[in-house]
Each structure stands twice: as C-alpha cells, then as structure tokens.
C-alpha cells in the first residue's frame, strides 16, 4: 500500500523528467538486488535507533522498498510509451500537464501500472515469508519452524499456503486491474476473468518469482 502511494507518483514524475527517471530506476534496481535476508539484517541496526529493530516495522519497510521497482518501472514505462500523437493532440487542445496526466495518460497507463502492482504484491508475499526470521511472524513462521525441526511436512504446508496466498492475491489484483482498465481499452476476449496480461517492464510469471525467492 505504502509502496503504491510512493511508487506511482514517483513513476509519474519520472515520466516527465528522463534524467530523474534514470537515477530513480537505478536506485530501485539496486534495492531489488539486495538479498531479502540481508536487507532485513540491515534494517535491524537502523531501526533499532527508534527501538523497532525487529518485528513488524522493519519487515514492512523492507517490503515497501522491494515493491518500488516494479511499480515505478511499470508506471514510468507505461506513461512514456503512450502514443506521442495523443500527447500532441492533448497539448494542442490546450490541456495543462496535470490535465493531460489525469484525463489521458494515467487512465491509458493504468492497466500496466496495475500489472506492476500485481507483480510487486506477489514478490512481496514471497519475501514476507522470509521476514519470519526477524520476528515478523506470519506464514513464514511455519516454514522456519519446519526447517528448525527438520519437519518436511511443516515446510511443505507453509510453502503451499504461501503459494496459495500469492495465487489468490494475483487473481484478485488481476480482477481489479481489469475493472480499472478504461472500457475503450479492454480487449474483447477479456470481457470477464483475468485474461488481461499487459506486457510489463519486468517480465516473468508469479511462479517464477516464488522460485527465485525460496
């Protein structure tokens, strides 16, 4: 949620300023490459300063950072890939930059922005499981306990639950994505269900991500 609130505006701002875009995407990419366990570890000393070294807050902060890249990148790509003719028409008709974003560019970019959000959520569910190690609880606890006790059944149960959660979230957001897609842009075959699969800046299916995280 936090990541949506910061990521989308950042992406929009990036689309109006190519130099800033390069910098922001670079930083977000670096964040993405930090292994999750290491990032959680880094959070401990930093947030210990305010007495929140372990538990919920560092977990959420780390997850928000991870979610930035897909959201910023998709927002940025979606808006900068809008047909220049539309931008020219909008400008020529006397729209200000804000009017253009609000009435034309963001509505058209929305499906791809939402694809970024969807991807971020699925990534985060995978990473969140790891946050059990810094005492954030959740489904990850079942897995980590299973590892500690060498109990395969517990590990599998936890992994399946995480997967199921990821799949449900993926479908759910897919539905929202479809609803938010302006009618004039919906593909006819996706009248219902989640056949909308817009190309995104980060390619890969949800299951790829889970494999990468585990």
């Amino acid at each position: 949620m936090c990541a949506i609130l910061t990521g989308i505006p950042l992406g929009v701002i990036c689309s109006t300023n190519p130099r800033l875009a390069k910098f922001v995407l670079y930083v977000a990419s670096i964040t993405m490459t930090i292994p999750s366990v290491a990032l959680f570890g880094l959070m401990i000393p930093v947030l210990s300063l305010i007495g929140q070294g372990i538990g919920f807050l560092p977990a959420v902060t780390a997850l928000a950072l991870y979610a930035q890249l897909p959201i910023i990148r998709n927002t940025y790509t979606a808006i900068s890939n809008i047909d220049p003719a539309l931008r020219e028409a909008a400008k020529g008709m006397g729209m200000t930059t804000l009017e253009r974003l609000r009435r034309v560019e963001i509505p058209i970019a929305l499906p791809i922005i939402m694809a970024g959000v969807r991807m971020a959520v699925v990534i985060n569910i995978g990473i969140a499981a790891v946050s059990a190690y810094i005492g954030a609880g959740g489904l990850g606890k079942i897995i980590s306990r299973g590892i500690a006790q060498s109990d395969t059944a517990q590990i599998v149960a936890g992994a399946i639950l995480v997967s199921v959660l990821a799949i449900i979230a993926d479908y759910g957001i897919g539905g929202i994505q479809h609803l938010l897609t302006p009618k004039g842009l919906r593909t006819r075959s996706s009248a219902r269900g989640r056949r909308v699969e817009p190309q995104s800046a980060l390619s890969g299916t949800p299951s790829d991500f889970k494999q990468r995280q585990s």
Partner: protein, 368 residues
C-alpha cells in the same frame, strides 16, 4: 485574421533555419494550404501558430492580437487542432472525446452532450449510434470525422489542420474532403491546412502557400499557382498535368453557353438552321415542354432539307452533364462519348446550355 510577420524558427544545433522569415496573411473564412515537400517547414509554421513550437523570432497575430500575449493554454483552447494521426483518446467515448475542450472550459454536461450530438450530425455520423462508441470501433475515416468534430467543439474561429486526411485511403479521403468543404461553407472557419498533395491543395484551398527550405516560393490562388507558377520549383511541384488540374477548379455551369438556343417540336428546320448560324453552333437541342432536352439536330440535317421538327427525328444526345460537375469530369465524359459538345442540365434535368470542347480548351490556354 491570421498574420505571420518575419516568422523564423531555428532549432539549436541545425545549420539553417527550418522556417526563415515568413510573411503571410490569411483572411477570415479562408482555407490557406501550406504546401511543400517534407522538411520544408510547413508543419513547423503551423505549430508555431498554436505555440506547440516557440518561434525563434517574428510575430504571429490572430485578429490583430499578438499570440505571445495569450496564455498558451488559453490560446490553444481557442484554436481547433486536427492532426494526421487523429489522436482520439482511446479511453474516452466519442462523446467524451468531442467534449474534451468544453469540459476543460467547465461547460455543464447537458450542454456539452447536446453540442457533441450536433457536431456528429454536422460530420455526418448518426449521434445515437456513435456518441457512446469508443474510437477503436470506428474506421479511420470515421475517426477523423470525430477528430474534426472535436476541433469544432467550442466553435473556434481558427482551425489548424496538419495533413488531416493523409492517413485515409484515397476513396474515403476524397469523400471526407468533399464533406469537409461542405462543412466549411456552413461554419466559415479560418483554416490553416498543411498538405504535401497538390491535388488536395487545389481542391481545398482558397489560397496556397508553397514552401521550400523554410521560404515561401509563391502565395496565390490555386488557379494562379497552376496557370502562372512563379518559378521552376513551383512549376515542377504543380506537375505537368496542371492544365487538367485547373479544369477541376471550374464547374460546367461557368462554361455552359447559349442556354436559350433551343428549339421545340413543331418548329421549322429553317428556324433551327438560322439559330445555329447566329450562335455559331454545329448542333441544336430540342427540348420538351418542361425544358428537358430530348435530342438534337445537326447543322447538316437542318441544312439539307426543310421540314417540321419533331423529337422522333432528333439524334440521341451524346450524354449530359450537370451544371455543378467540374470541367475535368466534363472533359472525361466528352472523350468517352466522342462528341465535341455536351448539353448541361440543372438539378431538375432542364437544359441550361452547351459545353463546347473548343471553349474549354480556350479556357485552359488562357492565363485566367
């Protein structure tokens, strides 16, 4: 209405200016076509009028007011803008697309809706069918009609059109051009129209401005451009078939003559002979009571013997053309029929005059 003074655009980094000191006056209600090969500065000139491109130097006045005095957003809302790529917003219905500028100006919904419906009528699209459609459901020609309707939404006095019909297939292009000219007779906008197609320019323009390398080579009426090109470049651009192009600028009604030189059934052949001699014609049309042509008698027929004329003896007409047909199609029918003259008829089918090949040839040869 629109005045350009010493207008210049020099993009940083390029050697020569794209537009170099252009002076141009466009009158109210006129269609001025900016014509030239690509890269000649015509589109840049157009975009400087609504300040999508900022001039390096020079002034643009609309109705005597310097465009630099306007707020740029306000200026653009007062100028209709149509582009080749059409640029309808895919996330909006036809109605919403047409209502973009009205809604930016804060019109209420009902008024904007009524206006959108009215405009669709004007561009010959059935409002009840098209208002709620999305652009992707329309053909290219229909989309550009909506594009034109959108530009007309707030009834701006000035319209800028950047090769508006360039992406439409030839058959539909000619239709939409006719349609647009019909709309123009109704709305009388001052229009700056960019084109690289001489045929389109001749058809649409009241005035053609021919560009080359950022300079104006000639600014004149289509007929003058075709009849009297200023220099070799303009002559080359208008092409070697300029005589045929000029034919398109005139209608049959302007050339049809001797509308009163007719005979009716029951008259004597001597009368017909005398009429033909007086008017210098080689044939005479016989008309019925309503004035509709039924056939003709040749000079030889009338000369050879004296008789009372009747429709049965008349030779069949070689065809007929309407007064509003352009001379190009008249000449085409003339070649097809093999006749050196054709009768011209009005909307009701009444005979209105003779179109004689030699008169048309004379017209083309004259530098009118």
């Amino acid at each position: 209405m629109i005045t350009l003074r010493a207008l210049t655009k020099h993009f940083p980094g390029s050697l020569a200016p794209v537009v170099a000191g252009i002076d141009l006056d466009i009158g109210k209600g006129e269609i001025c076509v900016l014509l030239g090969p690509s890269g000649c500065g015509k589109t840049t000139t157009l975009k400087m009028i609504n300040r999508l491109i900022q001039p390096t130097s020079g002034k643009i006045f609309i109705d005597g007011r310097d465009t630099d005095e306007f707020d740029v957003v306000e200026l653009r809302r007062r100028i209709g803008y149509v582009i080749q790529q059409i640029g309808l917003f895919p996330n909006m219905t036809v109605e919403e697309n047409i209502s973009v500028v009205p809604s930016l100006l804060g019109w209420d919904k009902a008024k904007a809706r009524a206006r959108a419906a009215e405009l669709l009528e004007i561009v010959a699209l059935e409002p009840s069918m098209y208002l709620s459609r999305y652009p992707r459901d329309l053909s290219g020609g229909q989309q550009q009609r909506v594009g034109v309707a959108r530009a007309l939404a707030t009834d701006p006095p000035v319209m800028l059109m950047d090769e508006p019909f360039g992406a439409i297939d030839p058959i539909n292009r000619s239709l939409i051009q006719d349609e647009f000219l019909r709309i123009q007779t109704r709305v009388r906008k001052t229009i700056v129209f960019v084109s690289h197609d001489i045929d389109e320019a001749v058809k649409m323009a009241d005035k053609i401005a021919i560009f080359r390398n950022g300079h104006l080579e000639q600014v004149d009426s289509p007929d003058n451009i075709l009849a009297r090109p200023n220099n070799a470049f303009v002559a080359g651009f208008v092409g070697s078939d300029k005589a045929l192009k000029r034919l398109r600028l005139r209608s049959a009604g302007q050339v049809a003559t001797h509308g009163d030189c007719v005979i009716r059934a029951g008259q004597r052949s001597e009368v017909a002979d005398e009429l033909m001699t007086r008017h210098g014609l080689g044939a005479i049309v016989i008309v019925d009571d309503q004035g509709k042509p039924m056939g003709f008698f040749s000079k030889e027929q009338a000369d050879s013997e004296a008789f009372t004329l009747s429709a049965d003896q008349a030779l069949p007409l070689p065809g007929a053309v309407k007064l509003e047909d352009d001379l190009r199609s008249v000449v085409s029918s003339m070649f097809a029929s093999g006749s050196s003259w054709l009768p011209a008829i009005d909307q009701q089918g009444r005979f209105r005059g003779y179109l004689v090949q030699s008169a048309i040839e004379q017209l083309v040869r004259d530098s009118a």
